[in-house]
Amino acid sequence: MSILPFGDLAALGLAPEMIGPVEHLQLPTPDVDQALGISQPDVTFVLSSRVAMNARDAQPLAEGASDALVDARSDVLRAIGVDLRLDRAEGALQLEWAADTDVRVRDVRPDRPLPAAADGYVRLTLRQVGRFLVESPAGVPLVLGVLEDDTLALAAVSAWPAPPLDHWTGPMTDEWLQSTVARALPGADAWTRTALAGAIARLAAVAPSSHAPGASSAGTPDDGGAHALLRRVSASPATIGPRSWARGLDPGALASIEEHARRRAIALEHDLDHLLAVFPAEATEARAAWTRVCHRRDDLEGVRLLLLEAGAGDGLDEALRDTDRAGRSLRLSLNVAVDDERLRRVALGDPGAWWGDPAYEVRLL
């Protein structure tokens, strides 16, 4: 289900494929105090980078008063380094961020002027229906929010042309990569498609039969992996296509991709720092958790390759330094066996990548 009708998206300069999966957050039901009849002010967004503001009187909250704010989890906002909280008493939503994930937020309803920026915060008052766009300070759209009735809908916005994956996967002989792309493609937004393009450019290989889907664990590092690696260095339509596409992007699109990738790298670093404490004890869950973070890192690696191809990516490289430090530290603390063709290929292509399959990394190191 789209976050907005196509016409409304078009009015914002957005195409449907620029909109990521929609996350719906049900607003909490009124608590006892509200049931007793305390009047509610208009629903208000309080958007602040420096101070927590009281929505009613625009005064900084007293120390300790933050207990009045209800936490929320939004994976869409978290991916761009923004936290969401709710001041139930004041009927206000509050978005918070750190210096390296600074954002600006604007009301995108056509009948509303852009809010005046104050020192460290911006306030948007929304009545009944609200729409807002979270952007980078440079104006790269990041997240679209829609408040309707008692639900807040959020979706990542990848405002660049989606890569034509179909053109590249059709002639491919790599069955694993073909099926991987085919599974991910339905409904995929521009970010996901771009990450897949990066994966095609990096991981495409003429896979021997032992590396067909579901057979990856049967092989050994020596029985075809090295051949695949050698073959991958040869140019093929699959490896050339994404690179050509990246080189053809305009500076605005490249900046958008890089901004998204940079924020996702920072979010991944935080998640890696957190993961050691919460790492699942059960082997299957542990493998799944580790594989998820490795895939996230490999998505970024694919995007990084495309950016480099287009002469961009310095900001992403800088963000990835901390991410990779956290990843390497975590990798050293854990002993998780994975069974994943993608990570096997990562290790074969880059034995130093902390997110590659450890078994293959050891052999090649």
């Binding site: 608590d31 207990d67 936490d71 929320a72 989890r73 709710l86 509050q94 918070e96 750190a98 004890a281």
Partner: protein
């Protein structure tokens, strides 16, 4: 002046509250980062603990503390949480018997509870009620109070998640998996989690290899595990102050006088009194005897051990009458359970204080009489003990509450069955039924009466399904005193009896009942191993078995008359 960004302010508030939210120094190279920041976790403070709650998909880490004058903002506690606070306050003196300063003062105000962090396991808003409720703060409240009255901080790497009752028994909590995952996510500085013993296995499954699980059956055990040797150090230190020493000595003595139910776990009392005797060098004779008395009584409650000398006659005469009667009751029970002091000497002293008409006796006098009955049952006078227990029960039921009749009624039931007196057993059963209709025997006395009734029924008919169900239930109830549970295992069905074999290797008390169960089987099959099993039982529990054998009891008599 620039204000602190809200996210950072929130993190800083959580880090400033205590050490719980700080990452361990030894992971991910954080030690060096800390040094660079010249920033370290705050030292744990007395009267401050962390706790965790679950509400739907939301897990919340809390800071619980006692704030003077309600200075701090606090979330409101609901009825169940308030009941837990009261239970913790009642359980503390039972679990930490002699070291408290003023539990009353500490429990006058509700604790302040402040939200530190939350985690939400799926996209959405935190689920939060206007009040925080439920029993899972129980053990955390208890540790908070203990820490406050001892002026001794709970270690910063510890968090507790267990419910508590007023007897200091720990019970499981809901949502343990989510709570432990929440602890791991929200409180990386926490490496040990205390849970109810019956949830320890479940907790270990969810501990993720990063949390050490401490399972405890009682608050007293939790205290021992959490505070460790620091409790002993506090005790030793207290002995240097004569006034405090006298206060503590008196506390030990009073506690021992009250009886088994005054403390859930008597081993800390035994150890504490023993340590005081060894380390307090300026004890007078009065203080010394009070401590010896407490040490011996505690050891008896714990494992039918403890050496209690007869008191000096002048000392005994100098006690108020009711205290004197209670001291004598303990001496008689000590004699019955451990074989020391000698039965003749103890009976001579005690007989002066027994009231001839139980309907005219005060409760302590009834208890002394009951203690003598128990000794008589072990020393060749079981018929007299049976008759007197019936009289004592009827008097207690007529004059006092049913709970006060639980001990003589248990003995009436037990001895009637052991002696094969069907009529006496039926009369006892009728008295039990009547007492149950008048409110029952309470949480402490009820299990003893139930056990005596059920084992008696099973002695008369091994196929009695109702009785079997009772012992099965008792054998599985981890909150009961260990000897009640193990004894119930002896009479229970095969699956429960198997526990005796399973646990005998590491639980000495279970070993006794394992031997008794083996003795039952040997007697039933006519196996000659019965005599050697009685030898083994006497080695394990020399007091009662020694009395029985010295008074001519054979293996079958020991099996029938063994008192528990």
């Amino acid at each position: 002046m620039a204000a602190t960004p809200p996210r950072r302010a929130r993190d800083e508030a959580a880090l400033a509250a205590g050490p719980w939210c700080w990452p361990p120094a030894d992971i991910l190279g954080l030690e060096s980062e800390r040094s660079a920041d010249e920033d370290n976790p705050p030292t744990p403070r007395p009267g401050h603990v962390a706790a965790v709650t679950v509400r739907g998909r939301t897990t919340t880490l809390w800071h619980l503390h006692l704030a003077p004058h309600r200075a701090a903002r606090s979330t409101v506690l609901g009825a169940d949480a308030r009941a837990s606070w009261r239970s913790a306050g009642i359980a503390l003196p039972r679990s930490l018997p002699v070291l408290w300063r003023s539990v009353h003062e500490a429990t006058q105000e509700m604790p302040v509870i402040q939200r530190l962090r939350t985690s939400i396991d799926a996209p959405g808003f935190e689920e939060r009620d206007a009040v925080v409720d439920g029993p899972s703060f129980g053990l955390a409240f208890f540790l908070l109070l203990a820490s406050s009255v001892l002026d001794c901080a709970v270690p910063g790497d510890v968090i507790a998640s267990a419910a508590i009752d007023a007897y200091g028994r720990l019970h499981g909590v809901d949502g343990l998996r989510q709570k432990l995952e929440g602890v791991r996510a929200l409180a990386p500085g926490v490496s040990r989690v205390v849970v109810s013993a019956d949830q320890a296995h479940e907790a270990e499954r969810h501990a993720g290899g990063t949390l050490e699980v401490i399972g405890a059956t009682s608050a007293a055990e939790a205290l021992e595990r959490v505070f460790g040797p620091r409790l002993s150090t506090l005790l030793v230190d207290a002995g240097s102050d004569p006034a405090r020493r006298a206060e503590l000595t008196s506390g030990f003595f009073r506690l021992a006088l009250v009886g088994r139910g005054a403390a859930i776990d008597w081993s800390p009392v035994a150890r504490g009194a023993d340590q005081a005797l060894r380390t307090w060098t300026e004890l007078g004779p009065d203080e010394r005897y009070q401590l010896e008395f407490a040490r011996a009584v505690a050891a008896r409650h714990e494992s039918n051990e403890g050496d209690l000398p007869l008191p000096d006659a002048a000392w005994l005469r100098g006690r108020p009458r009711m205290v004197r009667v209670q001291v004598l009751s303990h001496l008689v029970q000590q004699c019955a359970d451990t074989g020391r002091p000698g039965a003749t000497e103890v009976e001579a002293l005690a007989s002066h204080e027994v009231h001839g008409d139980p309907y005219e006796a005060f409760l302590p006098q009834l208890r002394l009489h009951g203690a003598l009955c128990r000794l008589w049952a072990l020393t060749g006078r079981a018929d007299r003990a049976l008759a007197d227990n019936e009289r004592l029960t009827r008097a207690a039921l007529a004059v006092f509450a049913p709970a006060d009749a639980s001990f003589p009624l248990s003995e009436w039931l037990r001895l009637a069955a052991a002696l094969g007196d069907v009529q006496a057993f039926e009369r006892a059963g009728a008295a039990r039924e009547e007492a149950l209709t008048h409110g029952g025997f309470g949480e402490h006395g009820g299990p003893y009466v139930d056990l005596a009734w059920a084992r008696g029924r099973l002695l008369f008919s091994a196929d009695d399904a109702r009785a079997r169900a009772v012992v099965d239930r008792l054998s599985a109830d981890a909150s009961l005193p260990a000897h009640v549970r193990w004894s119930a295992c002896r009479w229970a069905g095969a699956p429960q009896r198997w526990r005796l074999w399973h646990d005998a290797g590491h639980a000495p008390l279970a070993r006794r009942y394992q031997v008794l169960a083996a003795l039952d089987a040997a007697l039933a099959s006519g196996d000659t191993v019965a005599d050697s099993l009685v030898d083994e039982l006497e080695r394990l529990d020399p007091g009662p078995v020694g009395h029985l054998r010295r008074h001519g009891a054979g293996a079958a008599d020991v099996a029938r008359l063994y008192p528990y």
